[in-house]
């Protein structure tokens, strides 16, 4: 169900407290965010600024301490584990820094996995997997296990897996963080192709300014709050450098989450 206002993700005053032993750390402090359908959004920020926490909440991997999250118009804040799992399967695709492919399965089996567990799955999960892998230019690696693939290939298999159920939202956590420059560029190109050809909304959490600058919009998180938001096509480089400078300062001088 599409929202009337065209947003696929909306968060309202989102707060997340993390318990670290005796200490409670506020990982997010009132984050309000709107993501347009079809948009490519980058979230940048220093380590411990709350990027991954925000990604986890929006992706239904965790529940907020306070605030609301609307995903594709549906309030997922108070949903139970079973319902969240179903939503993740149908509406969200995930791409991780360390690929997180199942080591015992082949590339094709890894991609078919989300289809196999879907409630309404297509008749030929393997064919869909093969199509996606071919689209992402790893069609010649169908029967290879993750350990037999390069990092870039593994990440493209991971993207194919994320797209297996044709989700409207793709969430990427440092998708190029574990890749060399060439492989990273190929992966980013693949993500852009997916966005343009399928209209999939993509949220990318990254440290990499080059990656962030390829998004339609960048938001910067510092200390669990949105510190800045800008269009990278105009002033990305300048703003990004400023954010990184702030991050270094915060890393050396204060507690972060």
């Amino acid at each position: 169900m599409a929202t009337e206002n065209g947003y696929i993700v909306q968060t309202f005053d989102l707060t997340k407290d993390l318990q670290m032993g005796q200490v409670t750390i506020q990982a997010l402090r009132g984050v309000t965010l709107n993501v347009q359908r079809g948009e490519v959004l980058s979230i940048i920020g220093p380590s411990g600024s709350g990027k991954s926490t925000l990604l986890g909440l929006v992706g239904g991997l965790d529940s907020p301490t306070a605030g609301r999250i609307l995903l594709d118009g549906q309030d997922i804040t108070a949903l139970g584990e079973r319902e969240l799992t179903r939503i993740r399967n149908e509406k969200i695709g995930f791409v991780f820094q360390f690929f997180n492919l199942i080591p015992t399965l082949t590339a094709e089996e890894n991609v078919a996995l989300p289809i196999l567990v879907a409630r309404h799955r297509p008749d030929h999960p393997s064919r869909r997997a093969r199509d996606l892998l071919t689209l992402l230019e790893v069609g010649d690696r169908l029967h290879h296990r993750p350990s037999q693939l390069s990092g870039g290939q593994q990440q493209r298999v991971a993207i194919a897996r994320a797209l297996a159920n044709n989700p409207p939202l793709l969430m990427c956590d440092e998708p190029t963080g574990n890749l060399d420059t060439v492989s990273g560029a190929l992966v980013m190109q693949a993500l852009h192709d997916v966005n343009e050809e399928m209209g999939t909304t993509i949220i990318i959490v990254t440290h990499d300014m080059d990656v962030a600058s390829q998004a339609h919009r960048v938001i910067a998180l510092v200390d669990g709050q949105i510190a800045d938001e800008y269009d990278p096509r105009s002033s990305a480089q300048r703003a990004g450098l400023e954010i990184l400078r702030q991050g270094r300062h915060l890393d050396s001088g204060s507690t972060s989450s």
């Binding site: 799992t85 993740r88 199942i102 567990v117």
Partner: protein, 994 residues
């Protein structure tokens, strides 16, 4: 649905294949457990087939008739050489006539009994100078015996072909072997005037074990021989026709029960064992054996289950990120649980199949143990019922034991995928864990109920009562629900149709009481399983604390565990744990402080996996404890028996005479004096039955008035030669007899006497509580003149005593009296045993038993009875070995990174190997210390009870150390495969890809 199931199967198979080493060890654990159960049950089936094979052959006829008392029936006479009642020749004839009259066509034959002490009990091979005593003689009509089946010699000859005259004899293989006898040898049998020629040797199981239900056990234990009835004339004191047993073959065997009843009415003093009785008896034995082997096998499978728990915990903890990814992709918690469960199930199925093959192999290998136990050979067969049972149990145990870890897998949070370094395994939710625990208890109860139903039925009406209570409770609940529904229906105007309500009531009234009854039926098994569970949990906690303490762990490491003691159920453990843990912990800390670095790391490795260490110890300790308690007890008791026998007899051989008379004393003395150069000494000991006439208590200074029963109670007094061959017993008071002064009465005509101490607990001792200085007056049976004795010494009580040693006086005191029994104690020079044996073989009615033969006999009896328990213990240990192997495989897999870092910083492979072996050897050492230690304590208690503190050299330290060594060895052998591979891995590979 099928597609998803296929996905689970493929995924599980993939994982098992990729992690083949880990999977293999886990499967071996369950295979070893299933193997144990299949092998034991297969042995059970083999035994069962033997028991129920040919009842007519085992019973030696449709009916076997045995005189059952001494009530004075004209057909029965008291006492043959074995002091049992026998049929007279007339009695045998009367039985024949009865059958001829009522059931013509019946074939009747009998086993001749011999008269005179020791007649027929020993054999002497004149050609080899070898002898064997306490053997079984089967003097039968060779033309007729056995009335069913045939006895054939090793060469194929039948009894009627071999025993053609009074001078022919056939020996069993277990008698011929110790005699080293060969066909044609001349054999003497005690009590016979002439000798016999050996015509054939028959296999032991011609009569041993269950082949002959009457004498099978003794025949298998001691050996036996066949003589024909015509040989009876060689035994001068024996009347032909005197019979211990009659064997009857009916013309119509189907009538056996009717004939039995009619015969019993006519001959009430005769016991009749029919094939039906034997069938019933054998079924009971077979059932009991079956229960025993299954219960023991179940223990092995449960030990194997520990391996499954360990493996599943490691699988789940190693794959937390993978689980998080799967949940991220849309797998629900229950689907994750099913996925892992599938993996456990596949391991269970493959492990169980492997276990079946292993079990059949083990049954073939261990058949000898069962044969020793039964004293009979068994035919091996590939039995399918045990295989099915083993398979089902293996799979159920795998699923049950794998359930909790897989439940934990379902609880892993998907957000973990964002922080892959964090691999803490979540605890399963409290409610789900509780539900799982209930399901686990119910599942295990079903297994227990199925396997041990018969055992539980032993408690009279237990199942009936619990089933009835369950049914009543179910009915009450159903009634209350029906009433509630009825009242609510009446209160409502609109609602479901009355017929719907009515059908609901019928369903409730039918289902709930039935459900209650089923649950009630399971209650005893649930209680049994729960109690076992509590016991195992206690052991686990104790071992967990020991591992922690031995590793010198810190308090913070057990803080969470201490919360367990909030539950009152665990309070009884607290004092025990404090007693064990404090010294062990202090030692552990000390070692941690001063030990070399390899040991420190080994100890910390052990500390890091306390839970797995505890479960490994559990598996190891059960096996080593069972094995050590049996072997150590057996060794110490047989050693003690050997010492005691020599102590009490005062020599290394005992001679028994068939008749008790003064003439026999003279004959023996003449023979033994003729052997003086071969003997260090001898003493003739004659037993005189007597009646205690008066008793003067010196300590009280008065005559004690004797009750009639006390007078009768006095044991026979031994009159013995007073020389150097006196019993070397421990004296509580007074002294032993002295050859210098005690071969004559004192001035008042009293003879000295030594008595055994009175035991107020058991009433043991020769009679009342005699003390030094007491005077007793005894009238021997064979005379009218009483003899007065003064007690000069009191021997201490001991657990084992020989008759005749309880009270003894100089033989000279009994000058004119006829003894009831005559024996002689000989101290033979070891090199001259054969000469003395030969000399005594020439004396009719005399046979000799060497004390070492009695020791051998005791050893054989002990071996026979312990063979099966030792087999079970060894199987437990075998399974324990696989659990250790599995545990080590998991541990090295988890520590690949640690090992790689060690090698990266310069440790050589040998050193890494040594450190890992040290860790597992340490675990084996702790296991051995606990298992052997508990056995040791039990042994001390038993020995103390038996020998009253005089433990001397009876404690088998050697065996204790050997078993501890075995425990360490098992740990090291189990560890070596995994440790060798892990220590040889290139560090870069691990550090880069792990």
């Amino acid at each position: 649905m099928i597609g998803r199931l296929w996905f689970y199967v493929r995924h599980s198979l993939n994982d098992l294949r990729v992690n083949r080493q880990r999977s293999f060890f886990a499967m071996l654990c369950i295979a070893a457990g299933v193997g144990a159960i299949v092998s034991l049950q297969t042995l059970g089936v083999m035994i069962n087939k033997t028991l129920t094979g040919s009842l007519q052959e085992s019973n030696r006829g449709d009916l076997r008739l045995v005189p059952n008392d001494d009530w004075g029936s004209v057909i029965i006479e008291q006492e043959d050489s074995m002091e049992s009642t026998v049929f007279t020749a007339d009695g045998v004839e009367r039985v024949r006539r009865w059958f001829d009259e009522h059931y013509p066509g019946a074939v009747i034959t009998y086993r001749q009994s011999l008269s005179g002490l020791g007649a027929g009990w020993s054999a002497y091979d004149l050609d080899r100078d070898t002898s064997k005593a306490l053997i079984i003689g089967l003097i039968v009509d060779a033309q007729v015996y056995p009335v069913y089946g045939q006895v054939r010699s090793l060469d194929g000859g039948t009894l009627d072909q071999l025993l053609q005259g009074p001078g022919d004899i056939v020996l069993s293989q277990n008698l011929a072997e110790p005699l080293e006898a060969e066909i044609g040898d001349e054999i003497r049998i005690a009590g016979a005037s002439g000798s016999f020629i050996l015509r054939g040797i028959v296999p032991t199981d011609a009569e041993a074990g269950f082949r002959n239900s009457a004498t099978g056990f003794l025949a298998g234990m001691f050996g036996f021989y066949y003589l024909d009835h015509s040989a009876t004339t060689q035994f001068a004191q024996t009347q032909p026709g005197l019979s211990g047993e009659l064997y009857v073959r009916l013309a119509d065997p189907d009538q056996v029960d009717v004939v039995q009843r009619q015969f019993q009415r006519a001959f009430w003093a005769v016991s009749v064992a029919s094939t039906s009785d034997l069938n019933e008896q054998n079924s009971a034995i077979s059932g009991a054996l079956d229960n025993l082997v299954v219960t023991m096998g179940l223990v092995s499978v449960l030990i194997g289950g520990i391996g499954i728990i360990n493996t599943m915990l490691v699988i789940v903890s190693r794959r937390t990120t993978e689980v998080a990814v799967l949940k991220t992709l849309g797998l629900q918690p229950d689907e994750i649980t099913i996925l892992f469960m599938m993996e456990a199930l596949i391991m269970g199925v493959l492990g169980s199949l492997l276990g079946i093959a292993l079990g059949w192999g083990l049954a073939l290998v261990t058949k000898g143990f069962a044969e020793t136990f039964l004293g009979q050979s068994l035919a091996f067969e590939v039995a399918f019922r045990p295989a099915f049972n083993g398979f089902v149990i293996g799979v159920i145990i795998t699923v049950v034991f794998g359930f909790l870890p897989t439940l934990a897998a379902g609880q892993i949070r998907p957000a973990l995928v964002l922080r892959p370094g964090d691999t803490v395994l979540p605890k399963a939710g409290r409610v789900s864990a509780f539900v799982a625990l209930i399901a686990l208890v119910m599942a295990l109860s079903l297994v227990a109920q199925g396997l041990m139903g018969d055992l539980l039925d032993g408690i009279t009406y237990l199942h009936t009562i619990t089933t009835a209570i369950g049914a009543v409770c179910g009915a009450l609940i159903a009634l209350s629900l029906v009433m509630t529904d009825y009242l609510s229906m009446r209160g409502r105007r609109r609602g479901r149709h009355w017929l719907t309500h009515f059908l609901g009531w019928i369903a409730m009234l039918a289902v709930l009481p039935a459900g209650g009854a089923v649950f009630g039926n399971l209650v005893p098994a649930i209680l049994l399983v729960t109690l076992t569970g509590v016991f195992v949990t206690y052991l686990y906690i104790i071992f967990w604390v020991i591992v922690w303490a031995a590793g010198g762990g810190t308090l913070s490491e057990i803080r969470a565990g201490l919360l367990l003691f909030v539950i009152p159920l665990f309070w009884p453990l607290i004092p025990l744990l404090l007693v064990i843990a404090i010294p062990v912990w202090l030692l552990g800390r000390l070692i941690q402080r001063f030990a070399f670095v390899d040991l420190k790391i080994a100890m910390r490795g052990m500390l890091a996996t306390k839970g797995r260490g505890a479960s490994t110890l559990l598996a190891l300790v059960i096996g080593i404890f069972t094995l050590s308690v049996i072997t150590m007890l057996v060794d110490s008791i047989t050693n003690a028996f050997e010492d005691l026998l020599e102590e009490l007899s005062g020599g290394n051989a005992i001679v028994f005479a068939a008749t008790g008379s003064t003439e026999m004393i003279d004959t023996l003395r003449t023979t033994l004096d003729g052997q003086s150069e071969n003997l260090n000494g001898y003493a003739i000991v004659a037993a005189y039955n007597g009646r205690l006439m008066s008793y003067y208590d010196a300590s009280a200074g008065r005559e004690i008035r004797l009750q009639p029963w006390v007078a009768e109670f006095l044991n026979p007094i031994s009159g013995r030669d007073i020389n150097a061959n006196l019993p070397d017993a421990k004296f509580e008071a007074g002294r032993n007899l002295d050859p210098a002064i005690d071969n004559q009465p004192d001035a008042e005509g009293r003879w000295p006497v030594v008595v055994q101490q009175y035991d107020p607990e058991t009433g043991g001792g020769p009679g009342p509580e005699f003390g030094v200085g007491d005077v007793i007056t005894v009238r021997p049976e064979s005379g009218s003149e009483p003899l007065a004795f003064e007690v000069v010494g009191v021997i201490s009580q001991s657990g084992i005593s020989m008759e005749g040693a309880q009270i003894y006086a100089p033989l000279a005191a009994f000058g004119g009296y006829q003894p009831n029994e005559v024996t002689a104690v000989l101290d033979i020079r070891e090199s001259e045993l054969r000469s003395v044996r030969r000399a005594l073989a020439e004396v009719p009615g005399v046979f000799m038993i060497e004390t070492r033969f009695v020791n051998d006999l005791v050893n054989r009896i002990v071996d026979q009875f312990t063979s099966f328990p030792i087999l079970v213990a060894a199987l437990s240990l075998f399974v324990g070995g696989f659990v250790i192997a599995n545990s080590v495989a998991l541990s090295t897999m988890e520590r690949r990174r640690e090992i790689a870092v060690m090698k990266a910083v310069g440790w050589q492979r040998e050193r890494v190997l040594g450190m890992l072996l040290l860790e597992h050897g340490l675990l084996g050492f702790i296991g051995g210390l606990i298992g052997v230690g508990i056995s040791f304590v039990i042994l001390l208690l038993v020995l103390y009870q038996m020998f009253r503190g005089d433990l001397g050299n009876k404690i088998p330290y050697g065996i204790a150390f050997a078993l501890m060594g075995l425990c360490i060895l098992i740990s090291l052998v189990a560890a070596i495969a995994s440790v060798w591979t892990a220590s040889g891995e290139k560090p870069l590979n691990t550090l880069r890809y792990e």
